[in-house]
């Protein structure tokens, strides 16, 4: 209870920033683009809460994975790292910095029922309230 109050107070000053983020997200969703779909196996594992978003920008296992899920996550994380590496180079940042910033966004984007990892390392199920993210996340 006390923790929740703390969190609310913490978010207050960033209200405008959040609104801006929300607006950007809304525009992005409204504009139809040639967005590729997630692999059905990936979408299913996500929805089932077997895998989730980590603060470092990569996918992790919320429960002990099957070999198939492990392979799926490894493949996606390799692709993510390649994408982070390219973006890090073009923005003059490190892969870790870019991946972490992406992790902030990916945890914010999780849908209720999906899993994410808190800064403390615990796996949580996203609900309607804002996710527990690193203090450095925008």
């Amino acid at each position: 209870m006390g923790k929740n109050v703390m969190r609310m107070t913490k978010w207050k000053p960033t209200g405008w920033a959040l609104a801006a983020v929300a607006a950007t997200a809304a525009v992005a969703l409204a504009v139809p683009s040639a967005m590729a779909q997630r692999d059905p196996a990936y979408a299913a594992a996500r929805a089932a809460g077997q895998i989730g978003e980590q603060p470092d920008g990569y996918l992790g296992f919320a429960t002990t994975p099957t070999p198939a899920i492990r392979a799926l996550v490894q493949d996606l994380n390799i692709k993510r790292k390649a994408a982070y590496t390219a973006s890090a180079q073009s923005t003059g940042s490190t892969v870790e910095q870019f991946a972490f910033t992406s992790g902030c966004n990916l945890i914010a984007k999780t849908k209720p029922g999906e899993k994410y990892q808190t800064p403390g390392g615990a796996w949580k199920t996203r609900d309607a309230s804002p996710p527990e993210r690193d203090a450095r996340c925008p």
């Binding site: 994408a83 982070y84 870790e96 972490f100 690193d134």
Partner: protein
């Protein structure tokens, strides 16, 4: 010429002996003065996050959003 050659060799041997003479006590000293370090019972944790500062995260936020939107199949 001949004397020069042997002279040079003797000098080389001397230098080597001097090196051994200097080296031996140094090594002995190093062994005698061994610093005992107790191994920690807990694993050493290095927090890599110190490299990620909030201002950097704010600067990269827009680009990160763009990357996620444009590669939605892997995110």
């Amino acid at each position: 010429m001949k004397r020069n050659k042997s002279g040079a060799r003797r000098l080389a041997i001397d230098v080597r002996h001097v090196a051994v003479m200097i080296g031996a006590p140094t090594l002995m000293g190093a062994l005698a003065g061994c610093v005992q370090i107790e191994t920690p019972d807990k694993p050493i944790e290095i927090n890599l996050n110190i490299n990620i500062r909030q201002e950097v995260v704010y600067r990269l936020d827009g680009d990160a959003k763009k990357l996620i939107e444009q590669n939605s199949e892997i995110f």
